[in-house]
Each structure stands twice: as C-alpha cells, then as structure tokens.
C-alpha cells in the first residue's frame, strides 16, 4: 500500500483550526513536514484538517487510531483562548485527565517576570496537558508541545504557528520518526533555478528520469522553479549532474539555498559590494537581501526613490532626464544605477524603475514594463523586460530579475 512508508511505518498528519477551513489561511505545516520527511525517505499516508471543535478533534484522533497509524503529528489549537481546544480534546480521545504542568507554569512565570509582566489565567491554561503526556519544549511561544503514546502510536501535538511549529518539528518530531524507521535506501535532492518557465524546464529535462532511474518532479515557487529528484543515491547523483548541465546558468543553488542568499554569496566571494536604487520595488530588493543574516558584508544599502524628487536627490538623476524620458526609461534606470554606485562607493549599483500597476500604465509604457540597470567596474548595462501578472508578481519578478543581473555579472 502506498499509504505506508517503506517499512511499515504509517504516519498521519492532523491540522486543527477554523481558519484553515474557512479559506483564510493556507495550511503550511503538513507540507513542511511532508517535504522534510520525504528527504529522509519517509512519507505521510493521510492529512486531515478539522475545525476548532472538540467533538470533531476527538473524532479525528479516533480515526487515526482506528487506521492503525504508528505516528500522528498534530498542529494547532494549543493557544490561550477559548477556541483552543486541542489538549482537552486529546485527553478525551485518549481517556485520561487533564493536568496542569507546574514546570511550564514556572517557566512562563519567570519569562513574564523577566519582562515585567504578570501571567494571566488564560496563559496558565496552556500548561494543561493530558495526563501521561511528555512535554515538548517551545522556545518561541507560550504553548508547549506534547507527545502522547498509546496503542503503539506516538502522537505529537505542536503549536500551529509555523515559526513555532517548524523548529519543534525539526528538533523533536522528525528525528524520532527517522529513528523509528529503518535506514532509508532512497535519497532526495532539490535543484533551484530562476529565469526559465516551468514548461521550458520540463522540455529541457525530458528523458532524464528514464536515463537515470531517478524520479523527477517540478515545483514552482514563484518566481522560481525547483527540480526535485528522488531515488537510489547513485541515480540521484547522475540525474543531478544532468539537470545542472541542461539548465545552467539558471541554476543558482540546491537544497535549502535561497536566491537572495546566492546573490549575497556571489558578491562576498568576489569581495564586492552592492547598493540599490529602488523605485517600483519600493524596498523589496533590500528586504530580500537582508532577510538572512550576513548580508551586511556585501550589501551597503541604498535609496528608495519612489518619488521623482528622491531619484534626483538620492541617486543624482538629472531632472531634464526625467522630464525628457520619463521615470520608467532606460536613461533613468542607468542613471539610478551609476548614481547609487557612485554615492555609496559600492562595486555594483542596481537601479530598478517600472510600472507595477494596476494603474499608471499607458500605451508606450504598459503595466509590467520595467527597466533594470547594473553599474559596475566594466560600465553600466541595462535590460528592458515586460513582465506579466499582477502588482505583487511584477514587483517580485523585477526584484529577482535585477538581482539575477547582479549575480551573473559577479559570477
């Protein structure tokens, strides 16, 4: 049965929360866990989403038990409010009492005291766990996770907030599931690309699976395309090298690499620095570059030149240039790039100006038209791109395309 993992482990996922079933929030924890497990040769057999409703949660937990799962990873409903009902429902489903864990209450008290705040009763409620549960520490929030084992099945209950869920999942859940499973005979790899549409990637990689024996799939993570490989280590290695060959230079990294991280790494290894002058992206390029720590070694900063006035003041774009060609034009993009480079003494200056929409487009300069320019030691180069999509997509594509010009220039 494909529902079970290689050696008989059956792993289920249960996500709890009204917001997940009202279309307000895209459930992301199940996908994260499935991806993480897949890299270790394990797979999820079923994923259930239910509302913050005690009878629904109890029924879902009983369903997991009735299907003979060996592990179930639950998230959500551990918060301080009235509609957080997971721990109580778990106690009902397992037929045990709820007990208040004094170790967690003390932890919360000292944490609150350190900030000069007093613990409220609804925060104490978060220390209420089913009797016999093992507490799972949560460094990032006020709700602990917990583990409960019954009928040869380990249930892991984690907070639903992804930023608390992910480290706890990685530290307390995945290693235990991997330990329980026999050594995997399959391995997996992800190769990350930017700049080719998914259909082109698909076409260029036709036959790779047949040639190598590795399973191959694509995942679009806008605006990137990731190629995923799985199989015996030898198959994956062979496929990986073919994929890199056929897609280069669009391949920027693999595994957990990020695109902005790859740009920073390229700059650092070339001992170069970058400054930006952003118009239509409004700060997005800077935000992407500084999402990860370590950017400061290569990224100096720059200017948000949303208004024409600031294009002149901060990047030295001559007023007549703006008047003659308009803000979205090749001369202005070049002037932004050279201006910001000169005023910051950066090795490279990146200028971006475009029509992100939805308004503001005209016959000559439709929505999605973007001019990019990079100034460097060898002079300034520019590029005109007409992007498809809505405002958010156009801005994101502009930021990525600008950074890609820098990456290829540096590499």
């Amino acid at each position: 049965m494909s529902g079970s993992t290689g050696e008989g482990q059956v792993i289920e996922v249960l996500s709890i929360g009204d917001e997940l079933l009202d279309g307000l929030v895209q459930e992301a924890n199940g996908l994260f866990l499935a991806e993480t497990l897949a890299r270790r040769g394990l797979s999820v057999s079923r994923h259930t989403l239910v509302r913050d409703d005690a009878p629904d949660i109890v029924a879902a937990l009983r369903g997991v038990r009735s299907r003979g799962a060996s592990a179930c990873v639950v998230s959500g409903g551990l918060g301080p409010t009235d509609d957080d009902r997971t721990a109580a429902a778990a106690a009902t489903a397992f037929g045990v009492e709820i007990v208040r864990r004094s170790d967690w209450v003390e932890h919360l008290e000292s944490r609150y005291a350190a900030r000069g705040r007093t613990l409220r009763e609804n925060n104490r409620k978060q220390a209420d766990l089913p009797d016999g549960a093992q507490l799972l520490w949560n460094d990032l929030g006020t709700a602990p996770g917990f583990r409960f084992s019954v009928d040869h099945c380990d249930y892991y209950f984690l907070p639903g907030v992804p930023r608390e869920y992910r480290p706890m999942c990685r530290d307390a859940v995945v290693p235990a599931l991997v330990d329980r499973a026999p050594a995997p005979t399959v391995t997996a790899a992800v190769i990350r690309t930017f700049g080719l549409p998914e259909s082109e990637v698909d076409q260029r990689l036709a036959g790779v699976s047949e040639e190598t024996g590795a399973w191959m799939g694509f995942r679009a993570s806008f605006p990137e395309v990731h190629v995923r490989l799985r199989g015996a280590p030898r198959e994956v290695l062979k496929a990986s090298s073919i994929v890199r060959q056929r897609l280069a230079p669009a391949v920027y990294g693999e595994g957990d690499d990020t695109f902005p991280g790859a740009v920073v790494a390229a700059l650092r290894s070339a001992r170069s620095t970058l400054a930006v002058a952003e118009s239509c992206t409004g700060g997005l390029v800077g935000k992407l570059l500084t999402d990860a720590p370590g950017a400061s070694a290569a990224f100096l900063g720059g200017a948000l030149v949303y208004s024409n006035e600031l294009k002149t003041r901060f990047a030295g774009v001559p007023k007549p240039l703006l008047e003659e060609h308009g803000a979205v034009s090749e001369p202005v993009a070049k002037s932004l790039a050279t201006g910001i480079q000169g005023r910051t003494d950066a090795t490279y200056g990146l200028g971006i100006t475009g029509v992100a929409g939805p308004g503001g487009g005209g016959e000559d300069k439709p929505v999605g038209l973007v001019w990019l320019a990079v100034a460097g030691p060898e002079g300034v180069k520019s590029r005109r791109i007409q992007f498809p999509g809505d405002r958010a997509q156009i801005r994101r594509l502009s930021a990525f395309a600008g950074l890609e010009m820098v990456r290829r220039r540096v590499a």
Copy 2:
C-alpha cells in the same frame, strides 16, 4: 457544532494524490473552495488528503458517509495513468459497477480527430464512471468530472489540476451547494488590531459573546490579531462596536483593510507625507507601504542605511554620534528620523535601527533591541523596544511598530 454550516449543511473536502502527501505540491483546491464558500456564508467542516491508493480512497469516502455529510467535493485521481484510481474506488465505496460513458468517449474522439491525433486506450479509461453518476463536463481537459448522490449526500468528483478544477467548481459545484443551503441569516465581520498580544485581546473581550449572542474567535496573523465575529446582523453590529471600544486604539481597520494601507490612508487624509531611513529592517517598511497601489500620494521613499557609512551619507547622522553611542541607540534613531525628514522635505521622517540577530547582540544591546524615532512638525519622539523572536519576527515587529508610531502621530 462549529463544523456544520449555519443551517445544517455539512460540507467535506477530499483531495487525492501522492504528490500532496509527499510535500511536492501544495494542495490549493480545498483553499479555493473554502474561500469561495465562505463568501457565500457556507463553511467546510473537514478536509482530508489521501494518497492514490484504492483502499485509502474507499476508506476516506466511507468516513465522509459515516459522519453524515450532506456534500463532499473530491478532487484528483481522474487522469489517464495507472495511479489514477478515484473513479474505481468511488464505485467500490458506493457499491456500484463501473460503466464506460460513450458520450465522453465520442467527445474525446472528435476532439483528438480535430487535432489529427488518435485516442489511446488510457484516455478512454477516463470515460469510466460509477454507474448512476451524472457526468460533469470539463472544457479544459480529457477527464470529465462526475456527481454521485447517495444517503442524502452529493459527492462531486473533479480533476485535481487547479486550472480545470476551478471553473468546474465555480460552475457545477458552488451554485448547487448554495441552492441547497437556505438563504444565509448570518453575517460575519473581522476587526483588525496591532499592538496587543492575543491573550490581552482575549481578556479584554471576555463576555462579549455572551452579551451579544455573536460567535467570536481570534486569528493571529503575525504580528496582528484579528477578531472574527459571526451571527445575526444585529448581534454582529453590537459586538463589533463593543470590540472597537475595548481595543481602541489598537484597532486599525476591518474587513480586508491592511495595516500598511491604514498608515497610508491616515497620512493621505492628513495631507502628510512620509520618508523612512531603515537600518535593521533593510527595506521592509518601504516594501510594506508600497505593496498596495496608491502609496505614492503619501510615501516619498527614503534610504536603506544598512551600513554606518550610508547612515551618514543619506540621513546625515554625524560620525561622532555613531562612534559615541553606536548605531543602535536613541541619538542615532532620532538623527535618522530628522535627517531623512529634512533631506526629503517629508512631513514625517521615520528612523529604525536595531539588532535583528541572530548574531551581533551584546550585553548592552541584545538581539531584539530596536530604537525607533519619528520626526514631525511637533518635533522628534523616540521609543526603545526589546522585541522577542527570531530575525524575521524582530524585523517585522520593528517595521510595524515604526509604522504604528507614525499612524498614531498622524491620527
């Protein structure tokens, strides 16, 4: 039970596909349906994801039946390949035979003939439906959908490809579900806040549900907390006014309002402009303000002063000030705010400098320490905040807290 819609309809969603449980593809059909239904006052009670495995699919369909659902919308597993097993599993679950639908075979034949291609046997397989099913036309693909009714429950089977699923869902499923439901007598509202932790919101609103009769729930959308209300229009109106009273001034909007949008709106209605000097946020404030169109009327731009050098060049922070107090200090935050205000002629200047981590923290200036300052017509005010969390949280909290200082100053 919160799992049912207002008037007794119980709608479940079932998604079928190995790729959904291997972390390769984010399930999107369930979210699309939930969003579409929520806008019409209907809600989904449970969403189940299972693999392309006949016994798993049969078990899932029987589970839906056992819970007394009135409708179930299934997607995936209708393709031409061997691992598409949904129609056969449905026939097993409903205890009927499979029959080949000649109307669909003829449609496929003429479609293929028109393109000069010949129909393959595995495409014919897509015309195999459970006996008694009503065929649902698919204009965009080779697999039809189908509807099967048993035990007062309508099952809708649709292709998993979102491009085919969405129009079929919109045309054939949603209208039928809406017709079946009585006219909604409930209304919903969302009140959006920033600045209070969820536990504090919960405490301040204790008893509102009992006082008004409206259902109330919270959603943390980091770093915001949204209060959700549902009930008869009169109940929701009453609850809404109490919520606004008890949480003001943390309430910045309602419905689809966004926090940066509220800041821009406040600036516009005060005919004021804003410029920013961002250090640790690296462009995030500008990005947030320009996510929505229309920011240019109030947001001029500013400077990304990631390096100390640029703090001096773009915001005029005196070098001795940086040397004496360090970049993360009250004098530097104030100097950033007044400097950027002066150099851009904006009504308000916002300066942000802090330690976003994970490295770079010290005894005096731990990770999470952020200085914010706003310079305006009435002078410059500053705030020191020690934020909890990781780098992404600290940056997001810093950006929001800075914008909140501006919003309250302007309002």
